[in-house]
Amino acid sequence: MLVFPALHEMSSSIEQELVANVHIAVTNLIKYIPKQVASTEKQKLMTLLVKLLHSEDIEVLQQTLQLIDADSDSGLLEQHVDTLLPILIKLSICSSSMQVRISSLKCLATMSKLTTLLIVPHMNSVIKKLLPALDDKKRLVRKEAVKTRNIWCMVRDGHESH
């Protein structure tokens, strides 16, 4: 974990082209950290992951999205709901890579399962903003968009039926 502060600092001080490399390094490292070590640093990690979602590098985005999706600690995701939702929606619609659009739609679906009280206020906005994804030029993206949007449409009925 000593590497992180160093990498973090690097990303703000070096030239733009190299920043992407730093981010790739970070996301690849995160994958291999043992759970116990990660949990002590999770707060910082999550903030970093959210920041990485604004990267332009497709590889970084893919890795970050998969990491966020795999995170079983929903409490952590809940803290970042307000920052995560907008960027995930943006990626689902605007990213040039089909894979990234699919992964962020999957992430959005995962987010819908967080605490109902937290999620319901966002329901209408998410549903509205996801409309363009239903008309994505790729069928596989549309399929994922259908799944995600439908889950969000039923968020209010929530967790009683599960």
Binding site: M98, P132, L134, D135, K138
Partner: protein, 164 residues
Amino acid sequence: MKRLSMTYTVASLMDNTNPEIYKISSEREITQTELSDDVEDEFDSWEVFDILRSIKDPEHPLTLEELNVVDKSLIQVDNKNNSISIQFTPTVPHCSLATLIGLSIRVKLVRSLPPRFKVDVKINPGSHVSEIAVNKQLNDKERVAAALENFDLLRTVNKCLEER
């Protein structure tokens, strides 16, 4: 075993206690063009069928596909003219839940299709005693909207639309 006892106790309330169960179609294979970022995939009937096939029947723990209520061949998609037409087949000709099923189909499509499509949902001609009335209800936007303001009805529809 659980399913059998459930059917037994509510037998008197159901329209169709022993529905015929159909073999389901396979999943669509992913083609090379679908995997390519550059090629645009057009909407087709299979895609709409995929949206509808897993809708649950309100009476039985089965999908509309398994009950043959929706069938790929009865779905027409005209992408250029933004129109989609669907015909569904209620399980029995006097099925009292035909409107509910039609409503579930409508709601699922509203949630899943881009707004540019004009959608027609009708009963497969000849398969229901009240098809004219049901068709009228299902294709009248205002009546559909009014129906969905009923909280319990919406709840019931949502139950049918839950993913397994």
